[in-house]
């Protein structure tokens, strides 16, 4: 173990501006509810959610400033989720009769 002194190369990003973008994105998500195209609305709403998560992850959690090893940890968690999702597809999506009978 070694001691690390604080590194102050580029300073902090403008957190208030990022918060403003996040709040703006929230308002846009709410306005999407007025669009009468369900598929378009759902795609847009979840795209906005992904952008919001990206901003929080990279600027508030500073993931983009972390060493590669930390990125690997995050990707490993997401990879597990990816396999879980597609592992569940056959059981849930391709067994509609069984599910509808049960619920």
């Amino acid at each position: 173990m070694t001691q690390n002194t604080a590194s102050v190369e580029h300073g902090h990003p403008n957190y208030v501006a990022i918060w403003g973008i996040l709040v703006g994105a929230l308002l846009v998500s709410l306005l999407m509810g007025f669009i009468q195209l369900p598929v378009v609305t759902v795609v847009l709403i979840f795209s906005i959610a992904a952008v919001k998560a990206y901003l929080v992850l990279n600027y508030f959690m500073h993931l983009k400033a972390e060493p590669f090893f930390v990125v690997v940890i995050v990707v490993a968690g997401l990879a597990c989720l990816y396999f879980l999702f597609f592992g569940l597809v056959p059981d849930i999506v391709f067994s509609p009769d069984k599910l509808r009978a049960e619920h």
């Binding site: 173990m1 709040v23 709403i45 090893f69 968690g77």
Partner: protein, 193 residues
Amino acid sequence: MAEYPRAEHILNESTEVPTGRLGIWWFLASEVVIFGGLIATYVLFRWQHPEWAAEASHTLNFAGALNTMVLLTSSLTVVLAHAAITEGKFQLAARNLGFTLLGGAIFMGVKAYEYSHEIAAGFVPARSLFWSFYYTMTGLHALHVLGGMIAIATVLVAVRKGHAPQRVEYVGLYWHFVDIVWIFLFPLLYLAS
């Protein structure tokens, strides 16, 4: 690669990441699977049950939007606490942690209002699979908010005494994760109706 100011840490030699921060990232990666598993299962069931849109229309959009706003703002205050601690401003950091705690309390209050309203209207977990998912996902998330509040309160006490500056970043990382989970729960359970 961008660099942000950080408080002093003990580095893990093999990864060059402070040990505490490394532990938090591992913890959060495991949390991704817990919440992600629930969300993935919900999405697949929702795909099979378009009629759930009618059920979702009974959730309180204004309360969900308010809570999203509260969590986004508390994410701002906790990252400002981290920024303050890197500049050695312990009291400013403590004040921002206090605002974050307040945000958590408001979130829990709004959630309690929502639950009482929904249960009074007969939307209990046993009503349908949608409501089971709703209470499981939002309940687990609320427990994480509560856990985060306890952790932040503990760090706040230490920071007020001028101790443990690195823990501000650790509780901040956790709090941001809780925020990200809600960013996805809100459209899934409220808006997509």
